[in-house]
């Protein structure tokens, strides 16, 4: 039945509306509850923005999608998250495979102290790819995808640490898409960038949504309006409102959302 629903909606939208689903999801850091009963459907090949005041749980939810929170001791959850209808917590889903199919870009760019080339092929190498032609192809494809190819094509074997901040962040995006993930998670990817580099990354997000489902955390309201299709507003660990971006910013359904986007919030 859900299959049918997905197929029929696929005719109107670019992809499944329930590509990534969250159901009754609670999350705890030790005794401290960080997320309360989250329910949401994230659509395929769209950009979904998470907004909300600091500490409201945006990163926590994002980091649950690729189970990064499991690296922290003492965390537990209840409820479920499904990717393409399959629970990511299913015993048969290997966390390694899950992370290969869900790319992540961090707030602070984190290139490895290796060459540009080696940074990008890292994910492929650890999944066993050895053919040089495949690796070369992935490097060019990912760098083009991240709008960085022209700037670095002559210095692929130089250290990635010699790039500018904006270039490093785009390198990290290239590294994340080299694995050809299904979903791309971005946690405040522009917060350390200047306006010009920010514009570049935003344009890039536009390009990437042709191919990837994107979830982006941002503190910048303009950024959310500029580059997202849907917006979710979180407050104190709860999902307050989730709708088309245009609706959230022009006609929010909740008083708290309105206060936040108009800047009347503490």
């Amino acid at each position: 039945m859900t299959e049918d629903a997905a197929r029929s909606s696929a005719t109107q939208t670019p992809g499944r509306p329930d590509f990534l689903t969250v159901r009754n999801f609670d999350f705890f850091y030790g005794k401290k509850q960080a997320l309360f009963d989250i329910n949401m459907d994230i659509p395929e090949k769209r950009v979904t923005a998470f907004i909300g005041p600091s500490g409201c749980g945006k990163s926590t939810l994002l980091r649950n999608f690729n189970r990064m929170n499991e690296l922290i001791e003492g965390v537990h959850y209840s409820g479920d998250i499904k990717l393409l209808g399959q629970s990511i917590y299913n015993k048969e889903v290997e966390v390694i495979a899950l992370r290969r199919s869900i790319g992540m870009v961090f707030q602070k760019s984190n290139p490895f102290p290796k060459s540009i080339y080696e940074n990008i092929v890292y994910g492929l190498r650890i999944s066993g790819e050895k053919k040089k032609s495949v690796l070369d192809e992935a490097v060019e494809r990912s760098l083009r995808g991240a709008a960085l190819w022209d700037e670095v094509k002559d210095r692929l074997h130089e250290s990635a640490l010699g790039l500018s901040g904006g270039q490093m962040q785009r390198l990290c995006i290239a590294r994340a898409i080299a694995n050809r993930p299904k979903v791309l998670l971005m946690d405040e990817p522009c917060s350390a960038l200047d306006p010009i580099a920010t514009v570049k990354v935003e344009e890039l997000i536009h390009e990437l949504k042709q191919e990837f489902t994107i979830v982006i955390v941002t503190h910048n309201m303009q950024q959310a309006t500029r580059c997202s299709d849907k917006t979710a507003f979180f407050y104190l660990g709860k999902l307050i409102e989730y709708a088309e971006t245009q609706k959230i910013f022009s006609n929010p359904g909740q008083k708290q959302t309105e206060d936040y986007i108009t800047g009347r919030f503490g």
């Binding site: 690729n66 990064m68 690296l71 001791e73 390694i96 495979a97 992370r99 290969r100 790319g103 992540m104 961090f106 602070k108 984190n110 290139p111 490895f112 102290p113 290796k114 890292y122 994910g123 190498r125 650890i126 999944s127 640490l161 990290c172 590294r175 994340a176 694995n179």
Partner: protein, 316 residues
């Protein structure tokens, strides 16, 4: 008016502190440098007659016969370098492994705390105690191993017989244990200084824990680990008491690890008490060589450490 004066007063008070502190720091650093210079000056002046008589030939000559006034330290230089390198060969893998286990969460934090404490305590054990432990524990074990090795691997030059208890191998094994805390502590620092964001980056790309450690964390920490090794090497070269008690103090060169050997530090410790005349000058010459070698190794280690810190500062 009154506000102005109350403002300027605390400022004046604050300035006295750092000035005095600065001055003290300068005096202390100047004293340290002066002491080093003075030590080297003293060594050079007392070594001078030997330097004049033997020149650089002293470094290459293998005979040390005090009653004929023939002195050369080649075997002792070889022994110093060889025993330290063999010690590093044992201490490096072990120390690095311990450092990895201490910097990752394979084991619960309290257990790691205990291991770390025990390893660091090794550094607090006096050299002479290590020497005694070597005599009563390591020598018997090395003897058993040596007899076995000569019988079964005797064809290999480094295991050719006869096997002695007081040997290069014994000294190196004990040295390895003595420098283990240095290797472990500095390597652990280098590993924990790898930014958390890099680990997360590796995990987010689907790396297993070992892939993250071997592919990202270790390479990032590598210069620090190299520095740890060099500094430990410096420590091993200058180590005196335990080595003098265990190495056998022979000036005969041998390929076999099971034969006695000698180090510069051991030579000084053994002979300085009864030396006179040109022998004293020659011992001071040997001391000068030891100082130059260990200073060189330590400065090299410090430089690598500095370089590491400047490198990782960029990616934090």
């Amino acid at each position: 008016m009154s506000r102005e004066s109350s403002d300027s007063k605390p400022i004046a008070e604050v300035r006295v502190g750092p000035d005095l502190f600065h001055a003290l720091c300068w005096v202390a650093s100047a004293l340290a440098v002066a002491t080093l210079a003075w030590i080297i000056y003293e060594i050079v002046t007392s070594a001078w007659p030997a330097i004049q008589k033997f020149g650089f030939g002293f470094l290459g000559s293998s005979s040390w016969v005090p009653n004929r006034e023939v002195f050369g330290v080649f075997p002792f230089i070889v022994g110093t370098v060889a025993s330290s390198f063999i010690a590093i060969l044992f201490a490096f893998p072990l120390g690095l492994a311990i450092a990895i286990f201490l910097s990752e969460n394979f084991l619960p934090a309290p257990v790691r705390q205990v291991i770390r404490f025990v390893v660091e305590m090794l550094a607090a054990i006096p050299s002479v105690v290590f020497g005694l432990w070597g005599i009563f524990v390591v020598i018997p074990i090395i003897k058993i191993f040596g007899d076995w090795a000569v019988k079964n691997l005797g064809g290999v030059p480094i295991f050719s017989g006869p096997a002695y208890g007081n040997s290069m191998l014994t000294a190196s094994v004990v040295l390895a244990l003595m420098i283990l805390p240095t290797v472990t502590a500095i390597s652990r620092n280098a590993l924990t200084a790898v930014p958390k964001t890099l680990r997360e980056g590796a995990y987010a790309l689907g790396a297993t824990r070992w892939e993250a450690i071997l592919g990202v964390i270790l390479p990032t920490a590598a210069p620090g680990v190299v520095a740890a090794t060099i500094l430990a090497l410096g420590r091993a070269m200058g180590e005196t008491m335990a080595v003098a008690m265990l190495i056998g103090n022979s000036s005969r060169l041998s390929w076999s690890l099971l034969s006695p050997g000698g180090t510069l530090a051991g030579l000084l410790a053994n002979q300085f008490g009864e030396a006179e005349g040109l022998q004293v000058n020659s011992l001071m010459y040997a001391a000068l060589i030891l100082v130059v070698i260990t200073l060189f190794v330590n400065v090299l280690g410090e430089l690598v450490l500095r370089y590491t810190q400047s490198q990782t500062a960029g990616i934090r």
